[in-house]
């Protein structure tokens, strides 16, 4: 990634019309922007106001694809310090912006033109919505007078995206459009984060205005409760003190809410075992003695035993997705549940909360910490948890003369990278192995499509993650052959921008997760899951200008991993793994978490 100057921080005065009007009007004063203190040139069009709103919000990067209806915005972007990364497909732009938001904590920005541009963004928007990731999408739209007439490249973007955005706005006024963008930006990151969208008709962005946008501020109707009700906190604290079998269940909200520190402090002070959901991976160090790792469908056996047998569950920032809970009837059936969430609608949506604590995760966990006077007496329980950890350890065998086990490759990559390395994935078996066999210790290092389960997420997410991550953080995409094939055109972007990412395709020539289910539940009838026509990904990478590597047996692993990580730019390892490898443990859909299968014949 090329070094870029820190973005210009606009001064307060620019909101003042008086100050901006007396700025010099000579259009050729390009050098002025080198001085961060200089008042920026006043806006003259809606499009400039859109870009100014992004600059005011501190946006440094945007991901997108050009097109007719969005052209005025791109024209304004031409003069901006915002670094735009042109993607090969809009789906990539929305995934990259999503991943940028996850890794940086600031809303990622994506742009697309009207019609097909906007609809191509939708998968990534829906993905961000399911995972509560902060993101803002700006879509071009046909001029207002054509809206509703089925004009060229017209889509009802507002209609299409309403169910998959936190909020969306159709802009109607050049004087107001910048403020619409400011609000959308603020809203994306505030409270429970999510994607917001602003639809920008071409006449509005082309329209004249001298109105500077207001600063990023959420609309008045949007209110977020920070602190939980003190009485319920006190009751919950008492429950914790009296617990015999307590666990903490940490969800994605812990990471979005920057509550990892608070949760770690609480768990270690009171010696409470910690389970995470898939989006919660990284919120608690998996190498800690109290860590029980991920629970749910492909969670560890010990995590699922702990969830099933606990009597008190402190659940933070989770929506109790069915992949976590399995059948509702058998989910933590003995446990009283303390549920911390910033979104009141999550409380008792799927699992009834005995102690509903609405508020900011970090604040509420601290509140709870202050209210708990004595740690629960749970020595026996902790011993039981440790016993389960050894009973159901995540071991596998890897005989030299057999095809390479995917778990081995995941572990090799983990060992070769730092604790802060960022992992992105596609969706399928490889994603589960990446959860199970990589030891995550830091928040914002696990970037995956949890709620929507979007194949093709891995590579564009790696691009967004690379841009957001620090230089010394490696970015590794663990992908499946089927998933990689869906968005691999993004390699052209990675090559053009010289992004240092390592893609490892766990190539089983199947869409493996489907094959696994077919073997288990459809009598081995491999309908449309056999992908025996896969290209050679290492050569394909080279055709794109990236570096290619190949793994055929165990002897290749160490070298391929070392060289690919060392390569300064995008590299792709085509890792041919045991095509029959399956993911276990497994709780079948709607099953009892405690009854996870360790082999196929236990299903």
């Amino acid at each position: 990634m090329s070094e870029r100057a820190a973005s210009v921080t606009p001064t307060e005065e620019q909101h003042d019309d008086q100050t901006t009007t007396d700025a010099d009007e000579s259009g050729d004063d390009g050098a002025a922007s080198s001085d961060a203190e200089t008042t920026p040139t006043p806006v003259t069009t809606g499009a400039e106001s859109v870009i100014r709103a992004l600059e005011n919000a501190g946006v440094e990067y945007a991901f997108g694809v050009q097109g007719g209806a969005i052209m005025p915005v791109y024209d304004a972007l031409y003069d901006s310090d915002i670094y735009h990364i042109t993607m090969a497909h809009e789906q990539g732009a929305s995934h990259a912006a999503d991943a940028y938001g996850i890794v940086s904590g600031e809303p990622g920005v994506c742009l697309a033109t009207s019609g097909p541009g906007a609809t191509n963004l939708v998968t990534g928007i829906a993905d961000a919505d399911m995972d509560s990731d902060p993101m803002i999408a700006l879509t071009g739209q046909v001029p207002t007078e054509f809206v509703g007439n089925d004009a060229f490249q017209e889509t009802d973007t507002i209609g299409v995206t309403t169910p998959v955005t936190k909020d969306n706005t159709f802009s109607t006024d050049p004087d107001r459009v910048g403020t619409d963008v400011s609000e959308a930006f603020a809203l994306a990151g505030e409270g429970r984060p999510g994607p917001t969208l602003v639809d920008l008709p071409k006449d509005v962005t082309n329209g004249e205005t001298d109105r500077e946008p207001d600063g990023p501020r959420v609309p008045d109707t949007y209110e977020v409760q920070e602190r939980a009700d003190a009485e319920i906190v006190a009751a919950a604290a008492e429950r914790v003190e009296n617990a015999a079998r307590p666990i903490m269940l940490l969800g994605g909200g812990v990471i979005k809410g920057e509550a990892s520190e608070a949760c770690r402090a609480f768990a270690t002070e009171h010696e409470i075992p910690v389970v995470t959901t898939m989006p919660g991976i990284g919120s608690f160090p998996e190498d800690h003695e109290l860590a029980m790792e991920m629970a749910g469908m492909h969670g560890t056996g010990f995590a699922n035993m702990a969830v099933t047998h606990c009597d008190t569950m402190i659940a933070v920032g989770t929506r109790f997705d069915d992949r976590l809970t399995g059948g509702i009837e058998t989910f933590a059936p003995d446990a009283e549940i303390i549920h911390v969430d910033i979104d009141p609608a999550e409380i008792s949506k799927n699992i009834h909360a005995d102690y509903p604590l609405v508020g900011d995760a970090a604040t509420v966990v601290d509140q709870l910490g202050e209210a708990v006077d004595a740690s629960p007496e749970a020595k026996k329980w902790r011993a039981q948890c440790q016993q389960w950890k050894s009973d159901y350890s995540m071991a596998y065998d890897a005989p030299e003369d057999e095809p390479v086990r995917p778990e081995f490759i995941v572990e090799a990559l983990d060992e070769a990278t730092s604790d802060r390395a960022v992992v992105t994935t596609g969706v399928g078996q490889h994603q589960m192995w990446a959860c199970q066999y990589w030891t995550y210790t830091e928040p914002r290092t696990w970037v995956s499509s949890h709620g929507l389960g979007t194949m093709g997420y891995g590579l564009p997410a790696a691009i967004g993650a690379r841009v957001a991550a620090a230089d010394d953080q490696e970015v590794v995409c663990i992908d499946g052959d089927g998933s990689f094939l869906m968005t691999l055109q993004g390699l052209s972007v990675a090559v053009r921008e010289n992004l240092d990412i390592t893609v490892v395709v766990l190539n089983n020539e199947y869409i493996g997760m489907v094959r696994q289910w077919q073997d288990a539940f459809f009598e081995g009838r491999h309908s449309a899951s056999d992908y025996g026509w896969m290209p050679e990904f290492d050569k394909l990478a080279e055709a794109f200008g990236a570096q290619g590597f190949r793994i055929d047996d165990y002897d290749d692993v160490a070298d391929a991993v070392t060289e690919a990580l060392a390569y300064d730019g995008p590299s792709v390892i085509d890792a041919h793994i045991d095509p029959q490898a399956n993911v276990y443990p497994m709780v079948p859909s709607g099953g009892d978490n405690g009854q996870f299968a360790l082999t196929e014949d236990q299903l």
């Binding site: 977020v224 409760q225 319920i232 009837e329 059936p333 009834h352 509903p356 009973d391 159901y392 071991a395």
Partner: protein, 223 residues
Amino acid sequence: MKRGLEGPPPEERPTPAGRRNKQGIRIDPEIEATHDPRRTVISVLVEHEPGVLAEASGLFSRRQFNIESLTVGPTTADDRARITLVVEEPDPGIDQIKKQLRKLVPVISVRELASDAMRRELALVKVDAERPDQVAAVADMYDAKTVDSSPETATFEITGARQKIDAAIETFGQFGIREISRTGTTALARGTDETAGRDPATAVSSADAANQSHEYTQTPTDD
């Protein structure tokens, strides 16, 4: 050769005796914790902007909540509209509806109305007028206003609670109903009680509180 993970198989593992019901509530053998559906009126004050009705109604279809009726109209403020919804759901569902509506950005406030709230709907009923005297007598009985009449038909306007309108339609049925058109329910709270004033994002909703104490309120179905 052994493949896969180790550990006791499912049948050798301990299983807790407890269970939850479909609503995720732990089953307390002492208390039958199932919630029957009840009919209730929810009033929603929203910013009067394009798309807000689609957003609210889209939420209902997406989340599989059943709307019995939905009406919308302006308020005293130009930039505000009121949506009145009648829903029939168990308590946890009603609770979710309120919370989900509250999440929509253009929504200003959401209130479930008390059972004594004033609820009205309007119906237009077009009947065969072969027996005009008898038709007029029935109309009188229900305070129905004649809005149109022809040699063959008479059309009445009836306002009132849902049951009254149902009853009127049933009685008119003897003459032969050609067409009916009904609005949904609109409603306001009684007295100085505000129908949908500003309320903060409530920490514990009524249903959450009820869940906790296992007390469920049954509201009368209508006026």
